[in-house]
């Protein structure tokens, strides 16, 4: 089947004790695409990825990586799958490039180490032991180790964690290049800009389930298209304002003096708003109309509570 997905997860359940960390998750990732699994901490992202990597065995459901079950076909899959763990997994006592060369020896035809070193800027710390590398340097080395074997699918668990902007740029460029070469890339992140800039397909996960998915554009369109924010004196009558705006819009004062208008914001909404303010002799200090960002969608889907 030419169009069979690189990764297909159906009804995945994984429990730690009584607690289902992944609870009926479905996900598809395709070759030549970057699929971002976006979710708050504890949403089950890492556990899901570990089930795909063969590091954990699902309690229920099925996982197919390149058409194979990672639990039973690990030997066939390992040469074809690249893995970057969240905690790195790099031995601390060896030099950075010795580590990369060691991983490369596991493959029949690894990537050219010189080129990879250059691409990810590993040369400057190649002779430094892993223990003494910065977070961003370790991440770049871990990414190099994940792709050195020319994988058909790579799993990157929070690849940008702890990275400076330059490192991130280098990593993103490499991820895009992998995608263009036809590699399926699955990355987990809680960085909105990473998902927005990089992903062809975003899967929002919370409490072990998929709560929304689609392209970034589709996710933004599916949610209310525009938002309107108003700053004025605190304590305005939000119910009266909402009535004046009509169209089923709602007005909330989340922070004293800052009001969010949600619903379908049209040019008429803006006219009605300023009219109502003039009527009440209220001078707005700021009115912002804007597209919603992925962050807004994400917070709407997963809630604003700290956890």
């Amino acid at each position: 089947m030419p169009d069979s997905p690189a990764l297909e997860i159906t009804g995945l359940v994984k429990r730690y004790g009584d607690r289902a960390v992944v609870d009926g998750l479905d996900l598809v990732a395709r070759a030549g695409q970057v699929t971002a699994v976006l979710g708050p901490n504890g949403a089950g992202k890492t556990t899901t990825v570990e089930c795909c990597e063969g590091l954990r065995t699902p309690d229920e459901g099925s996982v197919r990586v390149l058409g194979l079950d990672p639990a039973t076909s690990a030997r066939d899959l390992r040469p074809r799958v690249g893995v970057m763990l969240q905690d790195g997994g790099l031995p601390t006592g060896v030099r950075a490039l010795d580590m990369l060369a060691h991983v490369a020896r596991m493959y029949a035809s690894p990537r050219d180490l010189g080129e990879l070193t250059e691409r990810l800027g590993l040369g400057s710390f190649g002779r430094t032991t892993v223990r003494r590398l910065s977070g961003g340097q370790r991440q770049r080395l871990a990414l190099a180790a994940a792709v050195v074997g020319r994988p058909e699918i790579v799993f990157l668990d929070e690849p940008s964690a702890g990275m400076d902007p330059q490192s991130r740029r280098a990593v993103w460029d490499l991820v895009r290049e992998l995608r263009d070469e036809g590699v399926a890339v699955l990355l987990t992140t809680h960085l909105m800009d990473e998902a927005e800039d990089l992903a062809d397909h975003v899967v929002v996960v919370d409490h072990g389930r998929v709560v929304a998915q689609g392209s970034v554009g589709a996710l933004l369109a599916a949610a209310d298209d525009r938002t309107l924010q108003l700053q004025a004196s605190p304590g305005l009558d939000t119910a009266a304002l909402a009535r004046a705006l009509g169209d089923g819009l709602t007005v909330d004062e989340h922070v004293a003096g800052t009001y969010a208008v949600t619903g379908t914001v049209t040019p008429r909404t803006l006219a009605a708003l300023t009219g109502w303010l003039a009527e009440h002799d209220e001078l707005a200090t700021r009115i912002t109309v804007g597209r919603r960002t992925l962050e807004d969608v994400f917070l709407d889907l997963t809630g604003r509570d700290l956890r």
Binding site: L55, R78, R80, L85, G89, L90, G93, H102, V103
Partner: protein
């Protein structure tokens, strides 16, 4: 083993295992603390006990160096296959190294093979260094026992590597650090390694002979002093390897 099964993309099995073996060996020999415990301490104990007269030893008519060297070699085997391996594996486990390497074509089996062979690699260095030091101090082992002593080393390595992996796979890294060092000291003093079980007080004599440490110590002394491998030691070491290996296989946690 289905050695002919090809896995496109992966390097041949022997090359992966060889790479991991040399990686493990170098990691141990490059680490200062590991070098101290596996090479320097046994050499110091050897020189100290041979030259120093502060410990009164009944050497049963043998020269002091001939009597002590087999036990020191047994101690060295324990440091590399147990203490050093347990500590290295537990920290690798905590840092995710074992998980990462197990996702490469090396796999879990290759990782284990690399570890065991890596220990044997370190032991080659230990035996050469300690053996040469002992020879310089006048050691003259029974030539008939040299081959059998290597068999004893392999059997002891099996038992102690299994123990190391059991401990490393079930306890926290900090706990392993404490347990592995403490167990080494206790077994070295009271486990029939350097001091033969027969010289230990009371019931300890019988206990020590059932321990892998006592069995290995006996096997090294009997082979290198008299050229015979005691069957009882073989039985004890094989039984410990089977039991500890089974336990490690069942209980080892990768996370």
């Amino acid at each position: 083993m289905t050695a002919t099964t090809t896995h496109p993309g992966a390097a041949p099995t022997w090359r992966r295992v060889l790479a991991q073996t040399s990686f493990e060996t170098r990691a141990i020999l490059r680490n200062g603390e590991q070098l101290l415990v596996t090479i320097i301490v046994p050499v110091l104990v050897l020189v100290g006990l041979t030259r120093g007269t502060f410990v009164d030893l009944d050497t049963a008519g043998e020269s002091r160096i001939d009597f002590l060297t087999p036990g020191i070699l047994a101690l060295a085997v324990m440091t590399s296959s147990f203490t050093s391996q347990a500590i290295a594996s537990s920290f690798d486990r905590r840092n995710g190294v074992l998980r990462l390497l197990s996702t490469t074509p090396l796999g879990r089996g290759g990782l284990l093979a690399g570890k065991v062979l890596g220990v044997l690699g370190v032991e080659v260095v230990q035996i050469v260094v300690i053996g040469l030091t002992a020879v310089l101090l006048g050691w003259r082992p029974d030539p008939a026992g040299l081959g059998l002593a290597l068999v004893a080393v392999v059997l002891g390595t099996g038992a102690f590597t299994s123990l190391a992996l059991l401990v490393a796979g079930t306890l926290r890294a900090e706990a392993v650090l404490a347990v592995a060092n403490l167990a080494l000291i206790v077994l070295a003093v009271a486990g029939g390694v350097i001091i033969p079980a027969s010289r230990l007080p009371g019931p300890l004599e019988h206990v020590a002979l059932l321990l892998p440490s006592g069995a290995l110590g006996e096997a090294m002394r009997e082979t290198l002093l008299h050229g015979v491998l005691p069957p009882w030691s073989v039985v004890v070491l094989v039984a410990w390897t089977a039991a500890l290996g089974w336990g490690a296989g069942r209980l080892f946690r990768w996370h």
